[in-house]
């Protein structure tokens, strides 16, 4: 299946969880949030959120600004 993570498309095998995707980007335990298809997924549900073909994942953190 193909998914987009922070705007970048990639091929993944079925069964991939949001927790695995986030772990591939950062090992930070705090300060990070994720949305799948424009819906916020709380950290407590990352393990049980399985991604599907065409899903768009956004992983955000706080940066200098404002």
């Amino acid at each position: 299946m193909r998914i987009r993570v922070n705007g970048r498309e990639r091929s993944e095998s079925a069964g991939l969880t949001l927790a695995q995707v986030v772990a591939g980007v950062t090992d930070a335990v705090g300060g990070v949030a994720a949305a799948v298809n424009e819906n916020v997924v709380p950290r407590s549900r990352w393990d049980t959120t399985t991604l599907g073909d065409g899903d768009r994942v956004e992983i955000l953190t706080a940066v200098q600004g404002g």
Partner: protein, 294 residues
């Protein structure tokens, strides 16, 4: 352990003893009374931004000098290559984080960004920014009001960046915003407060804190905001892009306090002609033709 104590923390209700050791004052200094936004109280009336600082170390020293207890961050895609974190700087200084929705052009984008910020940072505070135009970064009033209403309903403490329009400020308050943050002039312009009269109209009737947002270039702009009745000032570029950020942060801290004292003190009315400050009567009857040298 935070590196600086807060004024609010050191305030002890009911204590009037003034003979306390330095650093343990029991009441806030004039002009430095705590600021309450929503349910949160802050010992400083200066809200800082973190954008524009050349390094985290320079940012750290500027934030420390400013005395701020509330500071904004932006939400962006996580970049695995980033070194150091603005969050760890704020945490070390004991400063509360105020996520913004900078970069959003619609209410929908801003609401999702705020929800992500709440999830990431564990705070209900949000500085709502919905801009309409890339060149001026001016706020979109319709989208801002729409997003504000949605976020208030969703339990957020909303601090909206808004134009200096008194009507819009009132409407934002009416939908439940915890403060209003009118711009003095465009973000990063350093043009100060372009319409002081509008600020006065806003502060005179607001029932929530009014916070100057955007446009401050130097300390006098900040003092003017407070003299016009603002409850606080938010700034970033004026400090982070100054030649000496920590020194400018010190100036801003004093300007907030000085301006607030001046506002509380009640300034004299402006007059067209002079009003003598020395007695008019009792002047000696001297010869006007008398030479100055003899």
């Amino acid at each position: 352990m935070p590196e600086h104590r807060t004024t609010a923390d050191s305030t002890t209700a009911g204590t009037t003893d003034t003979a306390t050791a330095a650093g343990t004052a029991t009441t806030a200094q004039p002009g430095a009374e705590p600021l309450t936004i929503g349910g949160s109280t802050f010992g400083s009336r200066l809200i800082m931004g973190t954008g524009g600082a050349p390094s985290l170390e320079i940012l750290r020293s500027a934030l420390l000098a400013s005395g701020t207890e509330l500071t904004t961050v932006a939400m962006r895609r996580l970049d695995p290559g980033t070194q150091g974190s603005v969050l760890s700087v704020l945490e070390r200084l004991g400063i509360r984080v105020l996520p913004n929705t900078a970069g959003c052009y619609t209410a929908g984008e801003a609401v999702l960004t705020a929800q992500l910020a709440r999830e990431a940072l564990g705070t209900d505070l949000v500085k709502l920014e919905v801009i309409a135009d890339e060149r001026t970064l001016l706020p979109d009033p319709v989208e801002t009001l729409d997003a504000a209403e949605t976020l208030v309903d969703d339990g957020f403490t909303v601090l909206p960046y808004t134009s200096d329009d008194p009507v819009l400020a009132r409407k934002l308050e009416d939908v439940g915003c915890a403060a209003v943050m009118p711009l003095g002039s465009p973000i990063g312009s350093g043009l100060g407060i372009r319409n002081p009269h509008n600020f006065q109209l806003i502060t005179e009737r607001a029932g929530v804190p009014v916070i100057l947002d955007a446009g401050a270039g130097t300390a006098s702009d900040v003092a003017l905001a407070m003299e016009l009745g603002c409850d606080a000032v938010m700034l970033a570029s004026a400090v982070t892009r100054a030649q000496h950020p920590a020194l400018m942060a010190t100036a801003m801290r004093h300007a907030v306090q000085a301006g607030r004292c001046a506002w509380q003190a009640g300034r004299i009315p402006r007059r067209h002609f002079a009003e003598a400050s020395s007695p008019v009567g009792g002047v000696a009857d001297l010869d006007p033709e008398r030479p100055a040298f003899r």
